[in-house]
Amino acid sequence: MSGFAHEGVWVFIEARRGALRDVSVQLIGEARRIADRRRTVLSGVLPGWKVEGLARRAIEYGLDRVYLVENPRLETYLSRPFTKVMATLIRKYHPEIVLFGASKNGRDLGGRLHAVIDTGLAADCVRFDVTDEGYLDMIRPAFGGRSLAHIHCEKHRPQMASARMNVFRLPPRDPSRTGEIIRETVEITDADVDTRVVGFIETPRHDVSKIDDAKILVSGGYGLRDPENFAMLEELAALLGGAVSASRKPVDSGWVPKAVQVGQTGKTVRPDLYIAVGISGAVQHLAGMQESGKIVAINHDPKAAIFEIADYGIVGDLFQVVPELIRQLKASKAPPPVPEIPATTR
């Protein structure tokens, strides 16, 4: 370690198409807590072009200071120029902690940067703490999400980590909050711009967020046997005001888009109600949904692992159970109400 006193908590602030990324704002909230624990200043680094308004907004969410690096060559994210900005400022100011949102670009940047400045980087953390010795306790799910690993970086500075998206809550915005904006210049040469963006096809906002935002998710697995059977889940989800997600197998098989995949290699979701249909419950899938409010499993195999973490389960043929669910939900909605009198257990 060098002889400098390393001080301050930094967050990389990701601007994308004129707005702050949610993951950056979530991170400001959590980093604020860490900076307060360390009794130090919380700064953001915002590379971009014409983003001073976003710097002010980031302060309103909890930053004390923003290092603003404006350059037309930083308008969209590119690995090498952004790595150069971060490496230059880290070498100039010696922060103790640097945090990134674990978006694709945040991981792309952190991965390159940690090799360039030779320090540790804990990926995809879901919790942070400060140890008695003052180290950042970087807590991330270990294989399968059944355990949490506490990662420490004792001898290298800065201590760096990325934070999983949508784990930390958005902090409240306080328009009266003030902070300092420090303009920094980092030269970005022709050689630094070693890649260019030649195309972008936007995914409709609805598709991006639908399973993140849904209060109820109806999730299908390989047990559905055929992509066409997902229509049945769509119908059930529509009746419940929810959305349809899936485990890995239907995604791998091309039945449903990757954007709706729940699990370790997909998304982490926390709906109020998660209905797993024909999902056996591989560890990787459980990692993505085990924090749901209530979990319902529908599976023909009473030994399926999914029942281990379900609040309620129906052991039965999903091709009978799901249509029955749809029928009873429709019946309960349809006027005049025909009360459904369940036969007593025989």
């Binding site: 198409r17 590119l78 690995s79 978006s103 694709k104 991981r107 940047l109 952190g110 991965g111 390159r112 940067l113 940690h114 090799a115 030779d118 540790g120 980087l121 990926a123 140890t131 306790d137 270990a142 294989f143 399968g144 059944r146 355990s147 949490l148 690993a149 506490h150 990662i151 970086c153 070693d194 890649t195 260019r196 195309g199 972008f200 096809i201 936007e202 995914t203 419940l240 995604v251 791998d252 370790q264 109600l273 560890v283 990787q284 209530k294 009473p302 029942f307 281990e308 973490i309 609040d311 309620y312 389960g313 129906i314 039965g316 043929d317 159970v321 029955e324 669910l325 459904e340 369940p342």
Partner: protein, 277 residues
């Protein structure tokens, strides 16, 4: 650290190095219903699934442009199994960096060690890695290698094409598909599931049987600085591991015929207030 980039040869086709890791087979993992912990003993291994997609991407580029596909891994000698499988699938040859001194490496010494091996192989146009491994899920080694080698990187690609001395990758990011282009040599990381990895062929298996296609390198063979590798060269440590305490769920299972089971289920869900009455 900067290594001189090697100029691209026009006639010899593409020289590609695919970095792979051997991981426990994901589908075989299960949770012990009694102890609620992961059963890992006796779980068979496989090539990290995203690395299989990276290998397939490289083989397709070789099909289109000619050249060679070299597979590189770092790990114990048991990893040879995966390197041989990669050759059976169509890779030309493989290198395994294996040394006790490399044990306990985090992503920093891993990227450093692989970069040194890549430098020793030399003459590369493209380095391909999977987007992340299924056992560590960091996604940091690919960009780390690009940082060490000081070459451009295009991560999270679902499609890669090469034209002349340039590579183009379509990155699947949160809000869409972004296409980046850069000059080779470059590092690209490949999205899990973006292609269907080919099966090993009989000719491939025969090539493996004949032997001589997997080269072992030690830390000394790569002149690695002992302070920069393995546990000693790793900035991070795993201080402790805690078991996740999942909320204790009621686990009420209905075995009744569908109409009854569904009705009972809807009743309890309404009572819990998760669906409207």
């Amino acid at each position: 650290m900067t290594h001189p980039a090697t100029p691209v040869g026009e006639k010899r086709g593409l020289r590609m190095i695919v970095c792979i890791k051997q991981v426990p087979k994901a589908q075989e993992l299960s949770v012990d219903p009694v102890t609620k912990t992961l059963k890992r003993v006796g779980v068979p291994s496989e090539i990290n699934p995203p690395d299989q997609n990276a290998l397939e991407a490289a083989l397709r580029l070789r099909d289109a442009h000619g050249g060679e596909v070299i597979v590189l891994s770092m790990g114990p000698t048991s990893f040879e199994e995966s390197l041989e499988r990669a050759i059976a699938m169509g890779a030309d040859r493989a290198y395994l960096v294996t040394d006790r001194a490399l044990g306990g490496s985090d992503t920093v010494p891993t990227a450093h060690t692989l970069s040194e091996a890549i430098h020793k192989i030399g003459g590369y146009d493209l380095i391909l890695c999977g987007e992340e491994t299924t056992d560590s899920s960091t996604g940091h080694v690919g960009p780390g290698i690009a940082g060490h080698l000081d070459v451009p990187q295009i991560t999270y690609c679902s499609a890669v094409e090469v034209e002349g001395d340039r590579v183009r990758g379509t990155r699947m990011i949160e809000d869409g598909a972004e296409t980046w282009e850069c000059k080779m040599p470059a590092v690209v990381t490949i999205d899990f599931g973006c292609n269907k990895p080919r099966q090993p062929t009989l000719t491939g298996k025969i090539r493996v049987k004949r032997g001589g296609l997997v080269t072992h390198w030690s830390a000394a063979d790569l002149n690695l600085d002992p302070a920069k590798i393995g546990l000693r060269g790793s900035p991070t440590i795993v201080a402790k591991v805690e078991t996740v305490q999942l909320p204790d769920r009621k686990g009420r299972i209905f075995h009744e015929e569908p109409a009854v089971a569904v009705s009972l289920l809807l009743d309890v869900l309404r009572k819990d207030g998760v669906i409207p009455p």
